[in-house]
């Protein structure tokens, strides 16, 4: 069984359908069509630097960062509780944490539309309680909520899987040496869980910064994030050159954030999901 040729069709397929398309994106981003001629240009990238688009870029990053922070604040305690000794039936609970991720995220997002809508469930509950109605759908709040809801398990699971592997004797040693619970957490548990935190941050930040569905469904059709900008250029405006440039910028942004995060994960202990 020394033959390798059986994989050549696959390799060819992957080159044609993943490498070539990415090269085409690169090609489109550095060219434009003038009088029917394709010419090399940096205009597309210069255009991304216009205030309108920088604002979109900035808003995407800010919203993704906020969502990541909220996921961290909500998710770290969950991971700690799940990994802790007080909890029985651990694997069932972790399983329950994973199941919502299996659902089509379009549906997960759509579900929030039904809750947040002006005549939705939340408002009708408020109404029966005699409380004033709230305007929730099509706001920044709704978009962040959608992101946190969709990506929270991506934060919890990597942290959980690192926490559960921490050597208990390290914690006992710290306690024997007189540390209180908070010091043990600050000096032992938290530093050891950093690889999990790093991969959790990457796994939340990446989809949050690239989404266009959450922003479109929960932010309204006028709401613009990088993902929506790209979608607009390809599906409505048909300016593929500019759309490609924005995609390249977005990929650089992701590579950059992954690079920063993997510096904190030198031993590759995080990333339980992959």
């Amino acid at each position: 069984m020394k033959k390798t040729w059986v994989s050549y069709p696959y390799i060819l397929w992957m080159i044609i359908f993943t490498i070539v398309p990415l090269l085409l994106v690169l090609y489109y981003s550095f060219t434009k069509t003038e009088n029917g001629m394709v010419v090399f240009t940096l205009d597309n990238f210069i255009r991304v630097m216009e205030p309108t688009y920088l604002k979109v870029l900035w808003r995407s990053i800010v919203l993704a960062v906020i969502s990541t922070v909220v996921c961290f604040i909500l998710g770290y305690p969950v991971a700690m509780i799940l990994a802790g000794k007080d909890i029985s039936r651990k694997s069932t609970l972790v399983m329950l944490m994973v199941v919502p991720m299996w659902m089509n995220f379009l549906l997960r997002t759509y579900a929030w539309m039904t809750l947040l809508d002006r005549k939705g469930v939340i408002n009708s509950i408020l109404g029966t309680l005699g409380l004033p109605q709230v305007h929730l759908l099509y706001t920044d709040f709704a978009v962040v909520l959608g992101m946190v809801y969709n990506f929270l398990p991506f934060m919890v699971l990597p942290i959980y899987s690192v926490l559960i592997k921490i050597d208990r004797s390290l914690i006992e040693a710290a306690e024997d040496l007189g540390s209180d619970n908070f010091t043990v957490f600050r000096k032992v548990i938290f530093p050891l869980s950093l690889p999990g935190v790093a991969s959790g941050i990457t796994m939340v930040f990446m989809p949050a910064v690239t989404t266009f569905i959450i922003s479109k469904l929960l932010g309204g059709s006028q709401y613009m994030l990088i993902g929506n900008l790209i979608e607009d250029q390809f599906m409505r405006v048909y300016d593929w050159n500019f759309g490609s440039a924005v995609s390249i910028i977005m990929m650089l942004l992701i590579l950059l954030s992954m690079g920063v995060m993997s510096r904190n994960d030198k031993e590759g202990t995080g990333g339980a999901l992959f």
């Binding site: 033959k3 990415l22 989809p207 390809f234």
Partner: protein, 264 residues
Amino acid sequence: MKKAIKRIYLIIIFVFLYAPVLTLIVFSFNKSKSRGNWGGFTLKWYGELFHDRQVLSSLYNTVIIALLSALVATVAGTAAAVGIHNMKKTVKSFVMNLTYLPVVNPDIVTGISLMILFVFIKLDLGFTTLLLAHITFNIPYVVLSVLPKLKQLNKHMYEAALDLGAKPAYAFFRVILPEIMPGVVTGFLLAFTLSLDDFIISFFTTGSGVSTLSITIYSMARLGISPKINALSTLMFIVVLVLLLIVNKRSSANGRNGAPIVNI
């Protein structure tokens, strides 16, 4: 006391995770069209769903594409895995990077880059392009499901078959394939499920007239909320959930299969 706080916190988080889905499912049985109040139990939205031409045609597309792409991906992916398994280390790491590329690439980038390719080679966007795109994102998952099974394989079995006079192809189908079959089946189910579930890549690689269920849900949802989408969502949720439970059960029974059973 501390234990109680922990319990309550976990309960709140699980309510947060499950409440939206459950509300969606409950309201798909709601007689009243308004989302706010309960007008009694009904199945009429499910009935309407099965008379909606657009829903039916996208259901047909979804199932056909999922089946075809999973089949092609399984055959190509299994062959690829066998080849990769025999490769020298340097070539192998290149091919593995090639395999992980679509897995880690954001879906929107995969979508637009494939769309550019199809238009560039003047292929009309529609059923064919949709199928090609689905095969592309499915194959890596099959490769990643089959490879671990090959690693567990006793390589002397194949040699023994050859020594006993079997032709390589015969030895593969009678000795190797039965051994790696669990990985192949898991890969197929995973590919099928991912294809059913995909929205973003389909959205960019399909043309006018051809849509899948998730594209239909998206276009309906953009117009607002309707109990019909709730019903459709409920059905899709149940189908994908059941499929993934099977995949997960298989892969945990067969040891770690290496493929991420997560989609973003």
